[in-house]
Amino acid sequence: MADGTDISRRHFVQVSAAAGGLMLSFSVAGKARADGTNAPVLNAYVTIAPDNVVTLVAKNPEIGQGIKTSLPMIIAEELDVDWAQVRIQQADSKPAVYGLQFAGGSMATPMNWDQLRKVGATARALIVAAAAANWKVPASECTTASGVVHHKASKRSATYGSLAAQAATLPAPDPKSIVLKDPKAYKIIGKSKPQVDTAAIVRGKPLFGIDVVVPGMLYATFEKAPVFGAGVASADLDAALAVKGVRKAFLVGGGPELNGLLPGVAVVADSWWQARQGRNKLNIKWQDHPTAQQSSSGFAAQADALSKGAPLRTERLDGDVAAGFTGATSTVEAAYAYPFIAHAPLEPQNCTAHFHDGKMEIWAPTQYPDAGRQLVAKTLGLKPADITIHMTRCGGGFGRRLANDYMVEAAWIAKETGSPVKLLWTREDDLRHDFYRPAGWHYLKGAVDKSGKISAWHDHFVTLGTAGKPASSAGMATTEFPARFVENFKYDLSVIECGIPTGPLRAPGSNALAFVVQSFIDELAHSAGIDPVTFRLNLLGDQVFVGTAGKDGYDGHRMKGVLELVAAKSGWGKTKLGPRQGMGVAFHFSHLGYFAEVVQAHVSEAGDVTVEKVWVAADVGRQIINPTGALNQVQGAVIDGLSAALGQKISIEGGAVVERNFNTYPLLRMKSAPMVEVHWNITDNAPTGLGEPALPPVLPALCNAIFAATGKRLRSLPISKDQLKV
């Protein structure tokens, strides 16, 4: 029916996240003729060809979190088609059509769960309406299954493909008439589906930003100052131009914003290796910059000095902290510290750009393409509408590609060069020009009363920032646990001036705060002679829910659920352990997920830590959308957390990063990866994301296990052998 039929109008479901929900507004989007290569479009996400192949759009950036598979699964379920008939098409960045498109905050599932179910169900309703009209029967008598509409009474059936062209001409159904499936009837959601790109990945097909090839493309490198933000004093451009294959070498003025286009020198050549050889000849001299006075050791010394005086300000004060200490049976005082760390996604930053006819076309591995578009528009003086962004698969993200510094660099270089250009960073560029997880310092005092509960908690948090304001991802919410669970509670804050760029890294804030909070809780438990699991259950107490749902809410009951589950599954308190072997527990709530984890570790007399096993109990609501992907995320996040705890540290000296590559910034490898056993605690709550919340608890669980094994309390990261050898 669709073949050869003229369709005078195409209907698009336009999605706007502005109102926090789905807005369906069908618009006329020009004329299109349906034929074999131009199948009927039911809405911006759903296209169904006459042969019943269903093409679904994956709206968000794929960074390894599996979203290119799991979001279309949601649409396919409500559309009521077989997964085998589905093909996936990666969306370009089109916020007017798809709303927010980004990979961050583990927000894709909570933000799209309702919307995409409605997208699928609405498309299904259009198909059913077309069938009902043809058969002159009420739509309510029609059923669907596997991409076919049935009318049982008259024994008629029709494929979606045969109805799609007609369905696309029908008016949009009333959103209130859309009925979503009973989850008990799910055939796709909740069933493991391999990633849609798996076949291409295992064959090495070009999927990533680095693999983009545009006809006539040149290759670029860009060198920036080791000291963040310093300008170029001089560079030997002629020496670079003398290298074979080098076409252009030029200064980029840039600006002072660390998350914008920075000053530097670009070299453009026929191949990337030639560009890099040219870069080696530049002999760049950099201007002086005040950040050169800053260093990791300097920050630590300032933190220590600040801890001895009054804080900049008190962020939260509950009850009477002094009285909480007075009546205590045990008190503990401890200083905790964590370093800067880098994201180091395995695919180095890259972007391909082509400026032609006043318009910019960009291919980029980015977690937040529209933010990149705004940055490019502002920096190059272009209209956002004149910038097209194609989203490639990202070779990892971890929050790094929420910043689009490499995109604006590529766009600038491409405009200056006049040809399509692929900019590629070296690993050294990546480690030295990140937006780092900020370092931080916590000076803690706590007390336990005779009932075994924490009677006072005082944290003087010294963080990095500017003019008294914490830098990106360097803050701590006033509701951060154990706030609201301890009656006498004080959180003081001081801020050190910092010129090092910082930003969100997988489970931002939480990836450091869980280490501090859950380690110190462990110290308090041991000081009071109470089992660490029991002590935590007491701390959570009987509070079912504190705060406001959807904002700062914390469900103590859900946390108790995962804590009790992980204790049971790990054999907590029942496992016979050998010498220098221990188990540690921790929990953390972040990104709407409740996670409790137990680590079993062994520490050799030489101080080598072996993580033997990790148990995870997770509560992310009532529905795991893609179980195989979910398990992979949790296991990966846990090992990522162990990697940070056991080896990662970015050191600043003279305002620049010391570490250069994986030989000095070690990532955890196969031989150190433990078995990670995951248990889901299914609760009747809305489904939430999994990219991040499994990571934070594993760091303190490991440190607590090491304490159990050795009696040594680790208060700074990363864990070093020297701290643990006998």
Binding site: T198, R203, V213, A344, R427
Partner: protein, 155 residues
Amino acid sequence: MTYSLNVDGKVRQADVEPGTPLLWALRDSLGILGPKFGCGIGSCGACTVHIDGVPVRSCATPVEKVGAGKVTTIEAIGDTAIGKKVQAAWTELDVAQCGYCQPGQIMSATALLTKTPKPTDADIDAAMSGNICRCATYTRIRAAIKLASGQKSGV
């Protein structure tokens, strides 16, 4: 200068300067994009290819050292019986997250199974610890190697 390279069963001409790493001859000169760039110092394994069946880090192998060696990349490893099994196991267990390191992981795993058809955990640790997976899919990589070798695996 032009180098004659035997890559994936075909002799091809790469026009690159001496000292150019094999990785960049493959990617930028020959358009073979399967091997990935991760570190440039042979530390992460994303660029792993085989030369005469031996896994090497192409980012740290100058093109002139290849000589008449037969280079096999991820794009042709599926033509070998073991490579095909490894790719099938990777697919069955849905190993990848971002997938960027997996071409290198598969090349190292195929070399391991060619030499050691039934590897122990210690064999796997030794053969695979030169390949970083930043997403940390190590549990599944281990399981997929066991599966491809016909041994019991659990994820």
